[in-house]
């Protein structure tokens, strides 16, 4: 290693994404833009019933239609798959039972899309319709006909979790004040602008699939399992990506279907979902009902907390077991809770499966927790910001549930938004309110989805006649993960990001990366790239040192030069000395999960922190909320590219405001109420307020150059801050997301009648949680030496 540099040449400087020009010229190739010669088009027949047994499927008429080249059903793809090893409960095509409106049943490959659609209509399916289960309450009760899935239970319960850290009862006994609240967070969906699309070929006995996926590796695994092919005969390539937000993190039926159809027909087969089908693919935000009981001393210190959640999971497992744990995991990462009990439950319902959406499982409890603490502060006559700040976790500590907190910029984030917004000196006038909230999120999950000891990310670098190529399985979904790779490699080799050629998200040519979810890429692929780049740098420096008769420590790297030589000259020397110049780096998170079952969800090598103030006007006559401005400060550790960090923060605020005020995946009699972009309300540019963003840098000890995540965390505080601002404006609590005008009007009506001035759920159902697994809390203080080895 050469001497540490105080100033970076690339890191921390704003620069355009490597693919910016292709994105603004229309030349980026998304999956649906591909149309190789002889491509067949695929359409999928989907269930019109929310819950039904399939008695028979007759495809003969469809097969006879001119232009139809293949028709397949579940009998052709009977093997089940699923993202988590414990919930392999999906089929690409279902031939025994359908579980939601939109469940795939048959697929057609035809010479054009219209023929494929007509052939789907010609497939005759006989159903025995079953009673649908459409709510948490219905799922908890005994099934009228039969259970949705044949695992889990009792009734339609999928998963039950019960954990207790420290002595919760004793904690409540120490409390001077105890409060209970119930909250509901409605489900919503990712609504990526790009409809999911996949195209497969079958050439020389090998399947190649291009897809708009967030994780090529998981699609690769699912294809191998269902198609019964070795992984080395399947290649998955991430096409240019038109937006994910978590919605393209599962392997999907259409990806398997086009691969199978390509194998059967020997022709390229493409499937692009219609917008309506995207609503059925879903995997979006779980609707979650929450109950929280908090105890505090009279000066506002939390003594104990008990948190219960009930998640409406939809028809399949997806990431749901992880989602369930996440509704209880991260409360302790922002507030010092000395004793904590968490009981979680996920149920199956006859709706499209829920899964991970930006913030995965944590926006719902964050909404509940922040409002619960606001209410406690009011009960005590305290300023809510003071109460929250009094309980902030400190850097270099462990939480009661064994989560390791290293860098933590909560105080600085809070100070920045307090000062900028003038929250404490705000002018009180009816209808205008300010709300404050904080949050935290993972910089990548500390454990893999399926048990293995492989690194979570690997990067290879090749230097050849001055050209640098970095190979990594990471998938750029628009957030700029390619930019992180380019910046890290460029920084270490003394080049500019544009000098680095990138090959990413291709299971044939790139080493593994677990993909773009759980905010992991900057931290994990960034660290892998850093290790690979430093090895390459050392080789180039050694070659130049040997040639020029200097010590390696005297050879400086920067501005396109290595010592006195140009990078190209140095690379030729290096190749002469070492042969082919390649280097590799990998990253595996430290083993920091606590000693209890279920401890795998929650640990992360580092947590980001955010604080947010929302300023809004709420009309007491119409219930309409107009957001005036949002201030947000985000502890990203270090901004590798501040331009893109700002972009992630602004996008998170936008998505948070959409969830807070309008977005809603709702159903009536088994049918999605509004599977279209017109009726599923999302914010337009007219709805988006001005935003003031502060990037806070805490230089995380394990992040690449100190960096942490930015893509998900900043969404989390926005939603409770909106509700808190509505209370500030109108004096009513809206304990249910989204905060639609009719809920605000109803709460105001209740207030006027002298009823409790709130809108939200009144009760939490009785759930047969098992006895809590009792876990001794860890030692709280954490020293640097032991940080990575507990």
């Amino acid at each position: 290693m050469t001497s540490p540099r105080n100033e970076y040449a690339v890191i921390g400087k704003p620069f355009p994404k490597p693919d910016a020009v292709s994105k603004v010229t229309g030349s980026a190739v998304y999956a649906d833009d591909m149309l190789p010669a002889r491509t067949l088009h695929c359409r999928i027949l989907r269930s019109p019933h929310p819950h039904a047994r399939i008695l028979s499927i007759d495809t003969s008429a469809a097969r006879r239609m001119p232009g139809v080249r293949a028709v397949i059903t579940g009998a052709d793809l009977p093997i089940k798959f699923g993202i988590l090893p414990v919930t392999q409960d999906e089929r690409a095509l279902e031939h025994e039972k359908v579980r939601y409106v939109g469940d795939p049943i048959a697929a057609v490959a035809a010479v054009d899309e219209e023929i494929a659609a007509a052939a789907c209509d010609a497939v005759a399916v006989e159903y025995e319709v079953l009673e649908p289960v459409m709510s948490i309450d219905e799922a908890l009760a005994e099934a009228k006909d039969e259970r949705i899935q044949d695992y889990g239970g009792p009734n339609n319960i999928h998963k039950l979790v019960a954990l207790e850290f420290g002595d919760v009862d004793a904690g409540f006994e120490k409390a001077d004040h105890i409060r209970e609240d119930v909250f509901f967070f409605q489900g919503n969906t990712h609504l990526p602008m790009e409809q999911h699309s996949a195209i497969a070929t079958f050439v020389d006995g090998r399947v190649t699939l291009w897809s708009s996926t967030q994780v090529v590796h998981y699609v690769h695994r699912a294809l191998a399992k269902v198609l019964e092919l070795p992984m080395n005969r399947i290649r998955v390539i991430g096409a240019a990506h038109g937006g994910g937000f978590g919605g393209k993190t599962d392997p999907f039926a259409h990806e398997i279907i086009v691969s199978k159809l390509a194998m059967l027909t020997g022709r390229p087969v493409k499937c692009t979902l219609t917008r309506e089908e995207v609503f059925y693919a879903h995997r979006g935000r779980h609707p979650v009902l929450m109950w929280v009981r908090g105890g505090v001393t009279k000066d506002g210190r939390i003594t104990a907390m008990h948190f219960k959640t009930a998640l409406d999971g939809g028809a399949y497992g997806s990431y749901g077991v992880a989602s369930t744990f996440y509704t209880g995991a991260l409360q302790t990462v922002t507030y010092d809770i000395p004793a904590y009990r968490f009981e979680g439950c996920r149920v199956f319902t006859n709706k499209p499966p829920c899964g991970p959406k930006r913030g995965h499982g944590t926006p719902q409890p964050r909404f509940a927790l922040e409002l619960h603490l606001e209410k406690i502060a009011l009960d005590l006559g305290m300023d809510p910001v003071d109460l929250k700040q009094r309980n902030f976790v400190k850097p270099m500590t462990r939480t009661v549930n064994w989560l390791r907190v290293t860098s933590c910029g909560l105080d600085e984030c809070t100070d920045r938004v307090m000062t900028a917004s003038g929250y404490r000196s705000r002018e009180k006038r009816p209808g205008r309110g300010l709300g404050f909230a904080i949050s935290s999120y993972l910089s990548g999950a500390g454990t893999a989805i399926y048990w293995n000891d492989m690194p979570h990310s690997e990067v290879q670098i090749k230097v050849d006649r001055g050209g640098v190529t970095a190979y990594c399985g990471a998938m750029d979904i628009g957030q700029g993960s390619d930019s992180v790779l380019a910046a890290v490699v460029a920084e270490e080799l003394g080049l500019q990001p544009r000098d680095i050629r990138l090959v990413t998200a291709d299971t044939d040519t790139t080493p593994i990366d677990l993909g773009s979810y759980s905010s992991r890429v900057t931290f994990m692929a960034g660290n892998a790239a850093l290790q690979a780049a430093r090895k390459m740098r050392d080789m180039l420096v050694e070659a130049v040192a040997a040639k020029t008769g200097r010590a390696a420590a005297e050879v400086t790297v920067g501005a396109g030069r290595i010592g006195d030589l140009t990078f190209e000259e140095a690379s030729i020397l290096g190749e002469a000395r070492f042969g082919t110049l390649t280097s590799a780096g990998s990253y595996k998170p430290p083993k920091i999960a606590g000693p209890y079952k279920g401890s795998g969800v929650g640990p992360s090598p580092a947590y980001s922190y955010s604080a947010c103030v929302v300023d809004l006007d709420a009309d007491a006559r119409t219930g309409i909320v107009h957001v005036n401005k949002v201030w947000i400060a985000h502890d990203v550790g270090r901004a590798i590219n501040p331009l893109l960090v700002e972009g992630q923060i602004e996008g998170s605020i936008y998505m948070g405001l959409g969830e807070a005020l309008m977005e809603e995946q709702a159903f009536r009699k088994g049918l999605h109420k509004w599977p279209s972009m017109l009726e599923y309300k999302s914010p337009t540019i007219m709805d988006m307020p001005e935003v003031e963003t502060f990037i806070v840098e805490t230089d995380d000890p394990e992040g690449p150059y100190g960096a942490k995540e930015a893509g998900q965390g900043p969404l989390l505080p926005v939603i409770p801050a909106v509700s808190s601002a509505v209370f500030d404006a109108l004096g009513v609590w809206i304990d249910e997301v989204p905060l639609t005008p009719e809920k605000i009007i109803e709460a105001l009506r209740r207030k006027e009648k002298g009823e409790p001035p709130r809108f939200g759920p009144v009760r939490f159902p009785s759930i047969p949680y098992p006895d809590c697994i009792k876990v001794e809390p860890p030692p709280r203080e954490l020293d640097h030496a032991s940080a990575a080895s507990i």
């Binding site: 355009p16 010229t25 219609t274 996008g651 972009m677 540019i685």
Partner: protein, 180 residues
Amino acid sequence: MDRDVDRQLVALEVNGERTELFLPVHKTLLEVVREDMQLTGTKHGCELGECGTCTVLIDGKPELSCLLVPLQVEGRAITTIEGMAKGSVLHPLQHAFAEVGAAQCGYCSPGILLVAKSLLESNGTPSRDEIREALAGNLCRCTGYSKILDAVELAADQIRRSSPLAGEVAHRAGGAAEPA
């Protein structure tokens, strides 16, 4: 062919090039541009006129290509995103969008860029509210629209400053190969 559909010969002028195509009469302009002309820069998000993604310019004005059939636009000047740069020289809007990070996943960018181009051609100094008004029909899920507003303002500014160059800046498409 495998089925009977009504077809008609249609002459379209897209990005200054005239092409004659024998098309099913019901095929949308969006489908024709993408599938028959391989101009896949035009994207689609709903195919129902709801999201603005498939916007093209017809005689300089934004229209949703998913709601048009080619017969309606015969003889009129159609501009797609591929027609926005002059050769390898980016339009100032494209340059600004790339520079300030207004394109994240980039899927809505072609439509938004074309609407912004139309706006700046009729109003060279739009206020932020006028930009919002113009882009009200274009959804974006990535950016929160903040950097899109910044980029349109920046481009308007650049066009004003370089008015003798009539809206071109010296930035090469392809990006990476800037002269040192």
